[in-house]
């Protein structure tokens, strides 16, 4: 399967900001606004115009919806900040306290896996009693 080496960027979007208020971070709406990956149209073609992509780094992998967007450079992908992006972000803060939210090396490939709900992402962290 075709796999591309890319630089991963994360950040906030206005639509995401609109849906998070009022405890809506656990809803389907939030998943639509935060669980996607923007790719340059050429990269999107190279991957075979996938519906979903798996983004992998040394720290984890996450499957999100794929969207082609002219605004992206080739070999550059964007995931809105939030639970999906955080699965693959490095905890290394290089003495600043801030994890590597922008500019991480990653690979991206088409994926048939389900995009997890935000609740499912936290299931690995359930409380132990």
């Amino acid at each position: 399967m075709k796999r591309l080496e890319v630089v991963l960027l994360t950040g906030s979007t206005i639509r995401q900001g609109m849906v998070i208020k009022g405890g809506r971070k656990l809803t389907e709406e939030y998943k639509i606004e935060a669980a996607y990956c923007l790719l340059n149209p050429k990269d999107y073609e190279k991957l075979g115009r996938p519906e979903k992509v798996k983004v992998k780094t040394d720290y984890g992998e996450v499957t999100v919806f794929a969207r082609a967007d002219e605004c992206m450079f080739e070999k550059e992908v964007f995931i809105p900040r939030g639970p999906w992006a955080n699965v693959v972000i490095s905890p290394e803060t290089m003495g600043t306290g801030s994890p590597m939210y922008k500019g991480m090396k990653a690979t991206v490939e088409s994926s048939e896996d389900d995009v997890l709900e935000s609740r499912q992402l936290f299931e690995g962290f359930v409380k132990r009693y």
Binding site: V7, L9, G11, S12, T13, I14, G17, M18, V19, K21, G22, G23, R24, K25, L26, Y59, G60, E70, C71, M72, F73, E76, F78, R81, G82, P83, N86, V87, I89, S90, P91, T93, M94, G95, T96, G97, S98, P99, M100, Y101, K102, G103, S118, R119, F122, G124, F125, V126, K127, R128, Y129
Partner: protein, 429 residues
């Protein structure tokens, strides 16, 4: 009832010209607001936590407020290495109380800047921040540079109220009197309204900032023909625009703060602005996210000497980002209890930190269900500051503004809850 000049408790722009229509004790409509502020204010009653909750084997169950304060006091008193985190979406008065509690229990205390403009603070501590107020930008700025930020999405009214489209005393033609430059790694809605858009290679901010500085101090001849995807000629043109401006301002966001060498980017940006001030008037301002994140930094600093990541366990304030910052102490599994106020770390921290949050007792003072309340052991519902509670907040240019209360709430404010916890701890001691 129509209430005018309401302050919006969403982003660091802290727009203070909202008109809110209140009927009985309900918000009917909000005018003059952006989509973000509108959703926060009109949607204030959606998804609220209705009573204090505590988690046991079967899940969350309701308890009385008094019992919740008791449990919170117990968890914090019994912890050997507690952390208090959040603070950017509450009032300065509550933050002040938070520091009092942190001193009392010898806690680590950190605020959301740690995953946001933390590196900005480090850069500023090294190099200083030649800055100004947003009023000066509105009235004087004829060159506005947005570097690594997208105000159209994160601060929707910023350009309209303070920086781009607004008319000021010396900029009475508004947008026509200003030149807008956007520097970013991707096209954004902000770059679409710019006069000049520099699309740079990811991670090349440091090189480009220093190249501009070199050109401005007269050492441009040593530069290569292309830097970070931008030709030297183009950089020389940009440097010329900067030097020839009457009043320039660089607004920068996480695109600079979080990329490559992080705090060193900000330090070099500050040096660039300092050099520009030998020729003209130039300023620098971070685009702060939450409405009172600037206030959190200020209150922390005036009470402890440091803006974030403070360890008060030694009986004096100790500050060492990378060691005492929230993500580092959590990933190292150092922390054994956490109090979260006005924030949602589970949605925004990296996985190793969240794993630790799930292992330890987590107290959340929070109005809504959130990713953090999913993992919380004790949830204390609270009135929303800026809607149901008043107090002071700092705008991104560090101007304090009083946020209003225009709805009564059955819940106590952050300030009252923290005061109750402190009083309860006093009773134990």
């Amino acid at each position: 009832m129509i209430i005018k000049n309401v302050v919006c408790p969403f982003c660091g722009s802290l727009c203070d010209d909202l008109t809110v229509e209140v009927e009985g004790n309900e918000i009917k409509n909000v005018d003059n607001t952006c989509k973000l502020g509108y959703n926060k204010i009109v949607g204030y009653s959606h998804g609220r936590i209705e009573a204090p909750l505590i988690r046991d084997k079967e899940g969350l169950k309701e308890i009385s407020y008094d019992k919740a304060i008791d449990e919170a006091a117990k968890i914090l008193c019994n912890a050997r290495r507690p952390l208090m985190y959040g603070w950017s979406s509450t009032t300065c008065e509550a933050i002040e109380k938070g520091i009092e509690l942190a001193i009392k229990i010898g806690s680590l205390i950190d605020q959301t800047a740690t995953v946001c403009h933390g590196p900005t603070t480090l850069g500023i501590q090294e190099e200083g921040k030649p800055s100004c107020t947003l009023g000066e930008v509105k009235n004087r700025a004829d060159l506005v540079i947005y570097w690594g930020c997208n105000p159209f999405h994160a601060h929707p009214r910023h350009m309209g109220r303070y920086s781009t489209f607004t008319k000021g005393y010396f900029t009475n033609k508004g947008r026509k009197d200003r030149k807008i430059i956007v520097v970013d790694v991707r096209e954004s809605d902000t770059s679409k309204v710019a006069d000049i858009f520099l699309k740079i290679e990811p991670g090349s901010d440091y090189k480009i900032i220093n190249a501009l500085t070199s050109i401005i101090i007269g050492n441009g001849d040593i530069l290569p023909e292309e830097i970070g995807g931008i030709s030297k000629d183009r950089l020389e043109y940009i440097a010329g625009e900067m030097v020839n401006a009457n009043f320039g301002i660089v607004f920068f966001g996480l695109g600079v703060t979080m990329t490559g060498v992080k705090d060193k980017n900000i330090g070099s940006l500050s040096r660039l602005v300092k050099e520009l001030n030998r020729n003209t008037k130039f300023s620098l301002m971070p685009m702060r996210g939450h409405y009172n994140v600037s206030g959190a930094g200020n209150v922390f600093t005036w009470l402890t000497g440091f803006p974030y990541a403070i360890d008060l366990s030694r009986g004096y304030a100790y500050y060492n980002p990378g060691e005492t910052t929230a993500n580092d102490v959590l990933a190292r599994k150092e922390v054994d209890a956490i109090l979260v106020v006005a924030s949602d770390p589970v949605a925004h921290f990296v996985n190793p930190s969240i794993r630790r949050l799930a292992e330890i007792p987590l107290i959340a003072i929070e109005p809504y269900t959130s990713a953090t309340t999913e993992l919380a052991d004790l949830i204390i519902p609270v009135a929303i500051s800026g809607i149901e509670a008043d107090g002071t907040a700092y705008r991104m240019d560090e101007i304090p503004i009083r946020v209003k209360k225009f709805i009564d709430s059955k819940f106590k404010s952050d300030l009252e809850i923290l005061t109750d916890i402190i009083n309860r701890i006093d009773r134990y001691e």
